[in-house]
C-alpha cells in the first residue's frame, strides 16, 4: 500500500499531500479502491492500472467500492481515475457502490455516465491498413483532379459567357480588384524586381570581371529580366500577395455562407467572383511584368554604373542591343500564363475551402503553394518549347 507523503510547500508554508491510490480485496471478494491526498490536475497523479488489472483478472471480484476519506482535495484528475474504474467494472458486470462517494463526485460521475458513448459516428479508432490508405489517397487524388478539371471547365464557360453579354459581376467590384492587383502591388514589385536586378548584376559581374567582360552584365540582366525573371518574380509576388488574398476572401465567404447566398439566388459564384478576379489578374500581370523588367534593368544599371564604372549611356545602349523584341513577347506570354494560373489556383482553393477558420488558413497556404508549383512547371514547359522552336 502506498504511504502518504506530507510536504511543506516552501512558497506558501501550507502542507501539501501527494495523491495516492491503493486497493485491497476483502474475504467477501469486495474490491475497495482507496484514494488519499490532494488530487490536482496540475501535478502527476497515480494510475488506476493496478485496479483495472484486478478487474480484468478472473479472481471472482463480487463488487467494487471506493474509500475517499483520505482525500484532502480533488478535481478532474480524481474523476478520470474513478471513471475508468467504474466503466471497467460495468464492462465486467461487477456492481459498483457509489454511495460512499462524496456528493459532488457522485453527481459529476452520474453526469459523465448518463449519455452512453456514441459508437456509430463513422469515426473509427482502428488504424487503417497501408493498402486502405493508399486506396483512399488514390481516390482523393482522382476526386480532386476531377474537381480541378470541372473548375477549369466552368471558368472557361464563364469566360465565353462574357462575350455573349450575360456576365453578372459588378463594374465597381472589377475596378476594385484591378486596383488591388495593379497599383497597390507596385511598391512590392518595385522592391523585389530592383533587388533581383541588383543580385543578377552582382553575380554576373564577379564572373565576367575575370574576363574583362563586365560590359556584358547589361546583356545578362536585360535578357534574364525581360525574357523570364521579370515575369516569374512578378508571378511569385502576386501568388503570395494577391493569390493568397483571393483564396482568403473566397474562403471567408464560404465560412460566412456568402457563397451559399449567391447560389440560392441563382447567381453563379464563378461569374460573380471568380471571373472578375481572373480577368483582373490576367490583365494586370503583363503590365506589372513590364514594370518589373524596367525595375530589374534599373537594378543592373545601378551596379553597372556604381560598381563597374560603366557610363549610363553605355549601359543603356548595351541593354538595348541585347534585348530582342522576341524576348519581350516571351516574357509577356509568360506573365499572361502566370496570371491565368495564379488566379485559377487561388480561386479554386478559395471556393473549395471548408467551413472553419483553419480551413481558410489551409486554403490560403494551398493557394500559394499550388500557384508557385504551377508557375515553376509552366516556366519549365515554356522554356523547353521556346528552345525547341528556337525562339
Amino acid at each position: 500500500m502506498k504511504t502518504i507523503v506530507a510536504k511543506i510547500d516552501t512558497q506558501t508554508g501550507s502542507e501539501t499531500t501527494e495523491p495516492g491510490l491503493s486497493f485491497n480485496i476483502s474475504k467477501e471478494r469486495l474490491l475497495v479502491v482507496r484514494c488519499i491526498g490532494a488530487w490536482r490536475i496540475d501535478q502527476p497523479w497515480p494510475s488506476a492500472e493496478g485496479v483495472l488489472k484486478q478487474l480484468d483478472s478472473k479472481n471472482g471480484i463480487q463488487a467494487v467500492a471506493f474509500d475517499l476519506k483520505g482525500v484532502t482535495d480533488w478535481d478532474s484528475s480524481l474523476l478520470t481515475v474513478l471513471l475508468k474504474c467504474i466503466e471497467r467494472s460495468e464492462e465486467k458486470r461487477i456492481p459498483v457502490d457509489l454511495d460512499t462517494l462524496p456528493d459532488g463526485i457522485r453527481r459529476l460521475l452520474k453526469l459523465a455516465t448518463s449519455v452512453p458513448e456514441k459508437k456509430d459516428t463513422g469515426r473509427g479508432v482502428a488504424p487503417k491498413s497501408l493498402l486502405y490508405s493508399i486506396g483512399q489517397s488514390t481516390l482523393e487524388f482522382f476526386h480532386s483532379s476531377r474537381e480541378m478539371l470541372l473548375f477549369i471547365g466552368e471558368a472557361f464557360l464563364a469566360f465565353t459567357r462574357m462575350f455573349t453579354g450575360s456576365i453578372q459581376f459588378r463594374a465597381s467590384d472589377f475596378k476594385q480588384i484591378i486596383r488591388e492587383c495593379g497599383v497597390q502591388a507596385l511598391p512590392i514589385v518595385s522592391l523585389i524586381s530592383l533587388l533581383v536586378g541588383l543580385i543578377l548584376a552582382f553575380i554576373g559581374a564577379v564572373q565576367l570581371m575575370m574576363f574583362g567582360a563586365q560590359i556584358f552584365v547589361a546583356n545578362l540582366v536585360g535578357i534574364a529580366m525581360v525574357r523570364v525573371m521579370g515575369a516569374v518574380m512578378t508571378a511569385i509576388i502576386m501568388a503570395g500577395r494577391t493569390g493568397a488574398a483571393f483564396a482568403a476572401q473566397l474562403g471567408t465567404m464560404q465560412v460566412n455562407e456568402e457563397l451559399d447566398a449567391f447560389s440560392t439566388l441563382g447567381i453563379s459564384p464563378m461569374d460573380f467572383l471568380v471571373l472578375p478576379r481572373m480577368l483582373a489578374l490576367t490583365l494586370m500581370m503583363p503590365l506589372l511584368c513590364i514594370y518589373a523588367d524596367l525595375m530589374g534593368v534599373l537594378g543592373g544599371l545601378i551596379v553597372g554604373v556604381g560598381m563597374l564604372d560603366m557610363n549610363l549611356m553605355e549601359y543603356y545602349n548595351q541593354t538595348k542591343g541585347a534585348i530582342r523584341l522576341n524576348d519581350l513577347f516571351i516574357g509577356l506570354f509568360h506573365s499572361v500564363v502566370f496570371g491565368v494560373l495564379v488566379s485559377l489556383a487561388s480561386c479554386l482553393r478559395g471556393i473549395q475551402c471548408g467551413r472553419s477558420a483553419t480551413a481558410v488558413g489551409q486554403a490560403t497556404t494551398s493557394a500559394v503553394v499550388t500557384s508557385i508549383v504551377c508557375i515553376i512547371v509552366a516556366t519549365a514547359i515554356i522554356t523547353i518549347v521556346c528552345n525547341v522552336l528556337g525562339i
Binding site: N256, E257, D260, A261, L265, G266
Partner: protein, 255 residues
C-alpha cells in the same frame, strides 16, 4: 374548409455525408401559407435538411417537390426558376461583406428584374423600412450589430417578394428581446405577404409563437418522429422524446 395545397413535399428523403446517414425516410408536406418549423435537438440534421430543400445539397435518396416539380430531377433552368421564388435568411445573415446593405438588397433585384436604378433604390428603401433599418443603406455588414445583420438578411431574402422564405435558426445569437422582435417580424410578413415560411430552429418560444406546422427530427433514431402543429404536439403528443423537447426537459426525462 378547402383542402390546403402542398407547396413543398419531401418524399422518403435520406440525407448523408459520405457513408454517414444523418436522417432517413423523411416524408412531409409544407402547405401554402404555412409557417413550417423544422425542429429537433442540436446536431440532428435540421440545417442539412434545409440545405437540401434550398438546393445546396442533394439528398442521398428521395425527392423534394415544389408543386409538381421534383427539384433534384429538374433541369438547371427549371431549378433556376424555382430558386427565383426562394428567399433565404442564413444563420449568420450571410450578407455580402464587400457590399453596403443597399447593394446587398439591390443585387438580386438587378439580376432578376429590368427595373431602373431609381426603382431599385426605392424598393431597397422599402425593404429596409420593413425590417426597421431605414437610413442604414450605406452601412456595411461589419458596421452593424448581429440583430441588425439578421434583419438586413431578412430584407435581402424578401427582395424579390418570394413565395417561400427559409430561415436557418433566425434567433440564434440574439438576445430575447431581439429574438422576439424578429419572430414578430416574420409572423407579420408571413401574414401580410402570404408567403410560405420554413424555419429551422430549436428555440421553443419561437416555435410556439409562429409555427403552424412542423416536423420533429430525432437524432437517436435518425428519422422524423412527429409532425403537425407544434402547439397540438405539445398538447397531444405522447412520445416522450417530443414531450421532453417541447417541455424543455420538464417531462419525459424518466424514459
Amino acid at each position: 374548409m378547402p383542402k390546403k395545397e402542398a407547396h413543398i413535399t419531401a418524399k422518403d428523403v435520406t440525407m448523408a455525408y459520405g457513408d454517414f446517414v444523418v436522417m432517413r425516410n423523411l416524408t412531409f408536406a409544407v402547405y401554402r401559407g404555412d409557417v413550417f418549423v423544422i425542429m429537433g435537438g442540436s446536431g440532428c440534421g435540421k440545417s442539412t435538411l434545409l440545405r437540401i430543400m434550398i438546393g445546396l445539397k442533394s439528398p442521398a435518396r428521395g425527392c423534394i417537390f415544389y408543386g409538381d416539380t421534383d427539384f433534384w430531377e429538374a433541369g438547371s433552368e427549371e431549378q433556376h426558376r424555382i430558386k427565383r421564388n426562394f428567399g433565404v435568411l442564413y444563420q449568420s445573415g450571410a450578407l455580402w461583406s464587400s457590399m453596403t446593405l443597399a447593394d446587398n438588397i439591390a443585387l438580386p433585384l438587378g439580376q432578376y428584374t429590368d427595373l431602373g436604378t431609381n426603382d431599385i433604390n426605392e424598393i431597397v428603401s422599402l425593404k429596409l423600412d420593413l425590417v426597421g433599418l431605414a437610413g442604414f443603406e450605406k452601412f456595411y455588414p461589419s458596421e452593424i450589430s448581429g440583430g441588425m445583420r439578421k434583419r438586413a438578411g431578412l430584407a435581402r431574402a424578401m427582395a424579390l417578394d418570394p413565395e417561400v422564405l427559409f430561415f436557418d435558426e433566425p434567433s440564434a445569437g440574439l438576445d430575447p428581446v431581439s429574438a422576439r422582435r424578429l419572430d414578430d417580424l416574420i409572423l407579420e410578413l408571413s401574414e401580410s405577404l402570404g408567403a410560405t415560411i420554413v424555419i429551422v430552429t430549436h428555440e421553443l418560444p419561437s416555435i410556439f409563437a409562429i409555427g403552424t406546422n412542423s416536423v420533429f427530427l430525432d437524432a437517436e433514431t435518425r428519422t422524423m418522429i412527429a409532425q403537425g402543429d407544434p402547439k397540438k404536439l405539445l398538447a397531444d403528443s405522447t412520445d416522450p422524446r417530443v414531450r421532453r423537447f417541447l417541455t424543455r426537459g420538464e417531462e419525459g426525462m424518466g424514459e
